[in-house]
Every structure is written in C-alpha cells, then in structure tokens.
Symmetry: C2
Subunit: 361 residues, 2 copies
C-alpha cells in the first residue's frame, strides 16, 4: 500500500462532462491539480481547470503526453475504451482499475460477475441470433427486456418485449450485435446505493436513494427511500460486496430493483464504476460528498463520513428545465449548473438538491 | 433592478488567494465562468479556471482588457486600490460597490460610518502627531490600542499601550502615518456574523461564530457560540444594519467583541467587505455556504438558506500544520486545502471543518 498521495498531486480525468467537472471541483477543494482529457472542445469541465487535452480516446500520442503530465488518472464514465486504459496504464496508475471498466462495459460480463460475487440479478440469457432469442424467450418467458450488451445508456439500445411480434421488431432494430435478454422485473421501486472503497480496502456507503426515471433518464432521487431497514441493509451489503469483489478504488453507484412482494426481493439492475447521478444529493447534506470521497479514495486518503444530515430530494434539470433556475430558487434549494452552452432536449443541464431543513438549536 | 444574471456570466475576481479560489469554485457550481486577476504568478486561484490575468492592480491596460472579458467584477480582499476600482467601474459593474472598499480601507472612516449607522464601537480618537496621541490617551485612558488607519491585518500595524513608555515606543515604530487610538476592550469573547445582502436589498445572516485568535491570526471558529440569544440577535441585527447602510451587495463578515459583564455589551471590532475566514464553517453544515451566497447576491439571484444543520468547529491550518493532513482526517472532518506551494510560517494553507454528527433516522 503506497503512502497517501501528496498535496498538489496532478489528477487526470478522462471525460469532460458534468461528472468530470464536479470531480475536478472536488479535487481542487483538496488542494490537487486537475487535467481534463476529452475529445469535445466544448466540454463543461474545461471551465474549471487551466489544463486540458482535446483529443480522441484512441490518440496514442495525445494519451502519452497526457500521462506524462499527471500522477493519477481517473474517469467520469464507464465507456472509456479499454485500449485507452491500456495505453495510459503503462505510464500512470488508473483508478478505479480497468477491471471495473471491463466488467461494466458488457452487460453479460457484468451479470456473470455479479452472480459470481453472490448478489442477485434478474434471470438472463445471452442472445446472438434470432434463434437464440427464441430459445431465451422460451426459458425466461415474456414480458422480458432485450438489450445490447455494450454502449447502452439512458434507455438507448433496449426494447421491452411483450409479444412474439415485439421480439421480431426488436431483433430487427437492435440485433446484429451481442444482446442479452433479461426477465422483466415487476418492481415496487428503484433504489441505488453509492459506495466508496479506499486503496486500503475500507468501504463506506451512503444512505439508500429512491429513484424515479422519466423517459429512461433519472428525474429524482429521494432520501430517505421508502423501504424497510432490512432492505436498506441488504442493499448496502451488496454494494460493499460488489466493490470489494472488483478490487475497486473510488466511488461507484449500484442500482437495484425492489421487486414486488412475493417476488424475488432485491435485484441488482446495473453497476456504474464512477460517481453517479443518484448520488448528487450528497453534495447538500453530507459532510463528505461522493465527489470528495472518490478523490479521497484514489488518493489513498481516509474515506470521509457519509452521515446524512437532513432529508433531501435531488431533481435533474433536463433540457429547457434549466431556464429560469435563478428565479425559481426557493428556500433550501442548492443549485448545480453544468455550464453546457446548448440546452438540447434530453440533455442533463444541471440539478437541484431540495433540502428539508430543520433549524438546530 | 436588473434581471438576474444569466448562466455563463463571466465573473472577474480581483485577488488570487484562497478566498478567490473558493469564490471561483462556487461560481463554477452555479454554471458561471471565472477570470482571476492577480499580480502574483503563483496564485492558488489560477488552478481552478482557464482564465487569468497576471498584472499589477495599477496596470490600466491590463485592467481594461480584463474588464472587456468579464460581465461583473468582485473581489476577495478589502485592500483593492480605489484607483483600480475606479478604472474598472467605467467598463463593468463592481460588486460589492466601491463604497464598501472606501469605508473598510480606513479605520477612521469605518468607525465614523459605523457610529453613524447606529452600531456601537469602542471609544476612539484620531491620532496624527505625538501631541495628539497624548491628548487621545488623556481622553481614552490606558490601556489602549494604537493602530494605523490603513493596511493593517492579522495584527500588523498595531500596538497595545499600557504605559506612557509604550506610547513613546509605539509612536516611533508605527507613527508618521494616520493612526487611531482605540480604548482597550476587556472582552469575554470574540464573535462574528456573516451577512449576505442581495441586489434587491434582502439580507440573511448565518449563525454567530465564536472566534479564537492565535498570534493575531484566526485559529478556530466554533458553532454554536457560547452566548445568549439576546446577544446573538443583537449581532445579527447589527450585521444587517451595516450591510444595508453600505448599500452592500454580496457577503461580508462583521467581527464583534462581547465585552465583560458590566461593560458596554456588544461592540463592532471590524468589518470585512468580502467572504470571511470565520464563515468557512458554512461549507460543511449549510445548504448554501458563504461563497455560493456571495455569488447569488452579486448575480441578483435569490439568497440561499443559512440554516446550520450541525454543530461545527472550523480550524485554520497555518504553515506547517498543513502537512500530514491526509493521515489526520478523522470522521466528520471536511478538509480544504488552498494549493499554495510553500508552507511559510504564519501562512494560511488550508482549513478543516470538524462536524459533530448525529445520525438522522
């Protein structure tokens, strides 16, 4: 175990979106310097540091130059190409490690890993051909969800199948690449847990958030979640098991379904090897938020306290919802704006944390 | 009253120290862009934005170029030369206004202003010559404190006088410029209030902090202060009166003495027209900290909630105290490191907020 990284450590961040931006702000709070690597010249994270590289993720020359200018590399998104990680790793440590990328970039690999780690996922089958889809439907039943194994997010690359006709249509639309068929989970609610794991293997979790999606995009995370203590403890335990099994260092988000009563209980839906949208509420009501804890973890610093000081609802501002934010700030609202220039439909532009305040005497 | 400033507003910040750095981080949270102006090429605030100007505060050409690149100018320290403010004001709004600078740069002007505004200060007399010092001592009595009217901070430019000999020595050492003699206040404790005032004249205050100085430098701010409700209310009221009388926009810090029983009660010691070291605790336990509220004020946004969610002690890390910060992080500690390269004696290198946590169920 190396010593904690010193003040002034240069942290390279792959990805220049809002997560990279908020990671950079957290690194600055801790006295670190950041360097953002992103192909998009208009990246929001470029506004919060003097050091940037605008280059493609497969630009070896740019990656090597970047690696020479930083002491640690981390990332804001799970679809960093493994090739990129491999090139960088020759020169500089990457945390969380490439194993987390490998597992989370492929739904089949992820489900196999989760099952192996001993946590429960919905029944699933690999699908490659039209015939194997039929075989999978025969085993799993309908309704079911057909997903590409790679590069899906915010509902992209997935179809819900209720009938054999849906299956025909879905296979025409998203087939031709590796797919997975998952049993359709009738869930009471969706919840998530943010877990941090240090270089020394210590883990901490934040309180369980209850999430509501709209058009496949996270709309709100509410604390506390309306679940019983046993479910909350099971979710926290599963999150720690997953982070530990990955040998993970940093913060990750684990999404769960709480299945309807009589059904299979708590199922892991998805893991994200990065700070997570459903953990943004920690900025308003925790002494150490998820971004600071990610930095503390990769720097080898002790993890910070995750106690929640108040009830809170995080609400994403999508597209046009960002307009008029100033006028609509009511008491107890903490705004976060990502600095994106264009408010396209479906684009995450910012979020607000609504805190239920109780005066302390 | 103009509309609230839009997202992406370019905020120029005069001064590149830790306050400028933390102001810049707060502006980034709100989706704004920042540009730091500072003569020191090694300024810590340069690490958190792509836009900087390294130039002297009397460099008219540099100031005018800076003014063209920003939409609003604010500052991190009260000793911005009035000449600088005057040049900038021709091109771009400066908030808080130059009046706050004018008053706070001169102890005599400040005391006259405070008296006029109806808040209580310790008895004082202007001192220009050795003779006028004798006259002042005759009126105020000993002990008393002799201070330069301008450019004093952290105990620089002041002497405590117990005897006539002290007076001789002090006048030799710091005389030759305008001075002020203040009655020595036997105080029970030192407290401060952070007040924010919006462009619309609305004011909010944070809870009263109890401050302890060491070698004339703030060492700790403790919340809650050990004072009664009447004193806390009087301090908050005085802070609002002062901000309003100045036509102030932004966050300011007001330092008070709580005089010993039987003495004169609550006395204003000093005002600082900027975010204030004794308000750093707000970062850990308030939904809106002092830096965000400063930005919201100058942008014309509604002010944020100042409710304190937990008890907290802010401790400054001076000089070598910054070393080993990572190893010494205990539960509930929120670290802030300023990114200064050299840990000189007496230099503020960072601070920690120690939060007294209580699990919420």
């Amino acid at each position: 175990m190396p010593d904690p990284s010193p003040l002034g450590t240069r942290i390279g961040i792959l990805g220049g979106g809002q997560l990279g931006r908020m990671l950079s702000l957290a690194a600055s709070q801790l006295g670190m310097r950041t360097h953002i690597f992103c192909p998009d010249a208009e990246s929001p994270a470029f506004e919060v540091t003097p050091c940037k590289t605008v280059a493609a993720y497969n630009d070896t020359t740019a990656l090597e130059a970047f690696a020479r200018q930083v002491d640690i590399v981390t990332y804001e998104f799970e679809n960093v190409p493994l090739e990129t990680a491999t090139i960088l790793e020759k020169h500089v440590p990457i945390l969380p490690g490439p194993k987390a990328l490998e597992v989370s970039q492929d739904r089949l690999a992820e489900k196999a890993f989760l099952t192996e780690a001993g946590v429960t996922v919905a029944p699933y089958r690999a699908v490659t051909t039209r015939e194997s889809l039929d075989a999978a439907i025969a085993e799993i039943g309908l309704p079911a969800v057909l997903k590409t194994t790679r590069l899906g997010y915010d509902g992209k690359g997935q179809r819900t199948l209720h009938t054999q006709e849906d299956a025909d249509k879905a296979f025409d639309e998203i087939g031709g690449v590796d797919l997975v068929l998952e049993a359709f989970v009738r869930f009471e609610r969706e919840i998530s847990v943010i877990v941090a794991r240090g270089r020394d293997g210590a883990t901490v979790t934040y309180d369980v958030a209850e999430n509501v999606h709209k058009n496949h995009i996270l709309k709100t995370s509410t604390l506390p979640a309306d679940i019983d203590t046993a479910t909350a403890e099971a979710a926290a335990k599963a999150a720690k098991i997953i982070a530990t099994a990955l040998g993970y260092v940093g913060v990750m988000g684990i999404e769960f379904f709480v299945a309807e009563s009589g059904n299979a209980g708590l199922l892991v839906n998805e893991i994200a090897p990065r700070v997570h949208n459903s953990g943004h509420w920690t900025q308003a009501v925790c002494v150490t938020d998820q971004f600071e804890n990610h930095m503390r973890a990769i720097l080898g610093w002790p993890l910070g306290d995750t106690t929640r000081m108040a009830d809170v609802v995080m609400e994403n501002l999508i597209g046009d919802e960002i307009h008029g934010i100033a006028e609509n700030l009511t008491p107890g609202v903490q705004p976060h704006v990502y600095g994106k220039t264009e408010a396209r439909a479906g684009r995450k532009m910012g979020h607000i944390n609504r805190v239920k305040l109780q005066k302390r005497r």
